[in-house]
């Protein structure tokens, strides 16, 4: 390649934020608290925004160039090391870093760069207006850009090794940002839990990498390992185990069963963090690595890797339903979204599992379709979930502010005397700005936020024509297609179908509890939107979500599924095909399936939610017209139905759902009781026995010394006697020889 191609500069995309990290950190350390730093630079937010903007522009340039072209570029050689081959030769192995761009990269690069930029805008609005963050926002922005660097780097990396390296970098940032409010014990705990849980997965990922490295003669770069000849050469069974190991890493990172426990707790971090890391980007890393395995499944022996594909799909299916179930009972706005994230990622895993199974069994065309659907869902979900989290952040932010206002005014009005700060703080502690029980009826008070949340929820639920619908239908269809070929796939396929309905329920529940009905607290009545930084990204993303239909029309699904040769079509060419394919599929089975899914998600789930949580707004309050109909509908459904869920709410299932199906308890118990207990015993053993042995030598020799010296009695007669005895001994020894 000639030197001036844009891809040669692609390294700048992760490099800009990487270099901004120390800059923000040190500038923040130096200028902390100065007016310019706070007002104009937004405690580093503007620097971060500039950098992310530059990265975004750079990324867009790269994307434009590589829309239909696979590209690769070497950046630098990390290090070289040598290997003693069984043939006796010593060969050099290169651990290099480079850029690799195909459709998968392009899509994720866009998602990452775009969302990083938007969420950065959001952060400035969210973080800089809250007094709790004063004088430490530079830390937030520094860690934020470092994370962005990790994410962009992971997407661009040309080898599994560097994928892993950036993956860990993201893990670190996730840890730091979850623990941003380090003084809260819950945040500290959540940060540790997140890091450790993903670390468990990472251990297996490393083992998988090591196995791959060994199988592929010291190569982990995509160009080599995806070479069909090389794939055909290696032991297929071992390959499956290696990929399985890597999949465990993905399970940890993407919070799938059974390593899912960290994600809900991770909501302790600031909301922009939840939006970016724990919804839109980092958790997608697990999906990304599984999607990257696609060529292995294509090129491996037929059926050699199907077990792994089935495992992936089943894990996805289980998680989808489990997370949705737990989401039913969550009262915390962000936690609902967190479980929703888990559930949606699980969908994508199931989709990927189907795609991989198909690819491995020779159904290349449908495989590409399933792959495309899964990745498209990844895209849609990232956009929608990022938006949802930001919207929830907006809600929380405004509730928080309103609470402050109410608290102060309230005291002034009613009591007339001034309460000390301590009392205020005390008051603060008991008010949970994230609980949906404190909300209600916000649709009119936060119109932009409510709209964004409305669109986002619809996208996640899969309301026809909006956002996630296009991809979700594809995933369900693919899973069922596989199920027809491989009976065991009925399990994940059924699970995700049920999950579709459950998604309809919990997402609607969330929206209605928050925005419909009467305000549940005094605070909720005082909410209003303040800063311009927050709505901008919401509006942008709302249009992105709605625009999914455009992407679908441009055959995004097909383009994504075929890394090598997929092409875009124009919107108007494709939309008709897509519409007819979805709604009027000639295959009867798929047609029925589509309508069942639509029915579950569009009708059954939301209806239950409306029946339980719907309601009209306060008198005189009016939401925007595109939401008002839904509120009115919900009020009507709510009034009509006399659905009583107290029995269900008191059931033991609900109880264990509240306790997140006891996973956390069991894990905690296992770690604290068994591992830490064993560690404590080991520490005692180490000091008492291993070191004790050394100490015993010492004390024994001291005792021996005491006894030996007791022989020196002090009497010269004894000395002479010992001399005489010694003489005898010498005689005996001399005698013995002669």
């Amino acid at each position: 390649m000639s030197g001036s191609e844009i891809i040669d500069y692609a390294i700048l995309i992760p490099l800009f934020p990487f270099l901004a990290f120390p800059v923000i950190l040190f500038l923040g350390r130096i200028f902390n608290g100065t007016p310019t730093w706070v007002k104009n630079v937004k405690e580093g937010g503007i620097i971060a925004l500039t950098v992310m903007g530059a990265s975004l522009i750079m990324a867009l340039l790269v994307i434009k160039e590589h829309m239909n072209k696979v590209g690769a570029a070497d950046v630098f050689t990390w290090f070289e090391s040598s290997w003693w081959e069984s043939s006796g030769e010593i060969t050099t192995k290169v651990f290099g870093f480079g850029i690799y761009i195909d459709h998968l990269t392009v899509m994720l690069l866009f998602v990452a760069a775009f969302l990083c930029f938007l969420i950065n805008i959001f952060s400035i609005g969210y973080m800089n207006t809250d007094s709790i963050n004063d004088n430490r926002n530079h830390r937030f922005y520094a860690e934020f850009v470092l994370f962005c660097s990790g994410m962009l780097g992971m997407v661009l990396a040309d080898s599994f090794l560097w994928l892993f390296i950036f993956w860990e970098l993201m893990g670190l940032c996730s840890y730091l940002l979850i623990g941003f409010y380090y003084e809260r014990p819950s945040a500290a705990y959540a940060a540790k839990k997140a890091f450790l849980t993903t670390r468990v997965g990472d251990v297996f990922l490393v083992i998988g990498l090591v196995m791959l490295w060994n199988m592929f003669d010291g190569h982990l770069d995509y160009a080599y390992v995806f070479d069909p000849e090389n794939i055909a050469r290696v032991d297929q069974g071992e390959l499956q185990i290696a990929l399985g190991m890597m999949f465990i890493g993905a399970v940890g990172k993407s919070a799938q069963f059974p390593l899912h426990v960290w994600l809900p707790d991770a909501m302790e971090g600031p909301t922009p963090v939840s939006a970016l890391i724990h919804a839109a980007t980092m958790v997608n890393a697990g999906l990304y690595i599984v999607a990257r395995m696609f060529p292995f499944f294509m090129e491996a022996e037929i059926g050699a890797l199907s077990t792994l594909a089935i495992v992936i799909a089943i894990i996805g299916g289980i998680t989808a339903v489990m997370a949705a179930l737990i989401a039913f009972v969550q009262m915390d706005l962000k936690k609902v979204l967190a479980y929703s994230t888990m559930s949606q990622l699980a969908y994508i895993f199931t989709g990927l599992g189907s795609a991989l199974w198909l690819a491995n069994n020779g159904y290349d065309d449908i495989a590409a379709f399933a792959m495309g659907a899964s990745l498209f869902h990844l895209f849609n979900h990232a956009m929608a979930k990022g938006m949802l989290f930001m919207a929830s952040g907006s809600v929380i932010h405004e509730i928080h502010h309103a609470h402050h206002e109410v608290a102060h005014h309230g005291h002034d009005d009613h009591d007339g005397d001034h309460h000390d700060d301590h009392h205020d703080d005390h008051h603060d502690d008991h008010f949970d700005a994230q609980s949906m029980e404190n909300m209600g009826g916000l649709a009119s008070r936060l119109p932009i936020t409510a709209t964004a949340m409305f669109v986002g929820s619809m996208s996640i639920i899969g309301i026809p024509l909006i956002g996630g619908f296009w991809s979700k239908e594809g995933i369900i269809a693919s899973a069922w297609k596989v199920a027809l070929k491989e009976p065991i796939f009925f399990l994940p396929a059924t699970l995700i179908l049920i999950g579709a309905g459950m998604t309809g329920f919990y997402m609607s529940r969330m929206w209605f509890m928050t925005f419909a009905g009467k305000p549940k607290t005094e605070v909720a009545e005082h909410v209003h939107e303040q800063t311009p930084w927050i709505p901008i990204p919401l509006v942008v993303l709302t249009f992105m979500t709605l625009g999914a239909i455009v992407f679908a029309g441009m055959h995004a699904g097909h383009w994504l599924g075929d890394f090598e040769s997929g092409h875009y079509t124009s919107f108007f060419d494709g939309i008709g095909y897509e519409m007819s394919h979805v709604f009027l599929n000639p295959d009867l089975f798929l047609l029925i399936l589509t309508y069942v899914a639509i029915g579950l998600s569009l009708v059954i789930g939301p209806t239950f939610a409306m029946a339980l949580y719907g309601g009209s707004l306060d008198e005189g309050q009016k939401a925007k017209p595109w939401m008002q109909w839904a509120i009115n509908l919900s009020a009507r459904v709510n009034n009509k139905s006399k659905f009583d869920n107290t029995a269900w709410a008191n059931s033991s299932l609900a109880d264990s759902l509240h306790k997140r199906l006891h996973f956390d308890e069991i894990y905690d118990a296992a770690i604290m009781k068994i591992v830490v207990g064993f560690a404590n015993l080991s520490a005692i053993f180490d000091s008492k026995f291993i070191d004790g042995f050394i100490k015993t030598i010492e004390s024994t020799s001291q005792e021996a010394s005491r006894r030996l010296r007791a022989l020196t009695t002090g009497s010269a007669r004894d000395y002479i006697m010992m001399t005489a005895l010694g003489t005898l001994v010498i005689f005996l020894l001399l005698w013995g020889v002669t």
Partner: protein, 100 residues
């Protein structure tokens, strides 16, 4: 003339008596006498050997040995005196401040 072997035998007996006495008696003077006994055994031995070999050096050795023994007695008695001056005993068992 007495067979030198008998003299040697006597010397051996004297030596053993001396050695035995050296560690079985408490009185420092007696122990010194026992040591003298051992040295006398040496003298006898030299004399006997000189007779056996017909060599004059043995006699010379004996004379030297007697001189050594005399010096030893002189020094020994002096040391015992100083011990008596400090400890007011000449029993070896009671002089055991230095031990272990």
């Amino acid at each position: 003339m007495i067979d030198p072997a008998w003299v040697s035998g006597l010397a051996a007996i004297l030596f053993i008596i001396g050695l035995w006495g050296a560690f079985s008696r408490k009185n420092a003077i007696v122990v010194l006498m026992c040591i003298e006994l051992m040295l006398n055994a040496v003298n006898l031995q030299f004399v006997a050997a000189a007779t056996h070999w017909g060599d004059v050096t043995g006699w010379v050795y004996a004379v030297f040995a007697i001189a050594i023994a005399a010096a030893e007695v002189a020094i020994g008695l002096a040391i015992f005196l100083s011990m008596y001056g400090q400890h007011e005993t000449i029993s070896l068992d009671e002089v055991n401040l230095l031990r272990n």
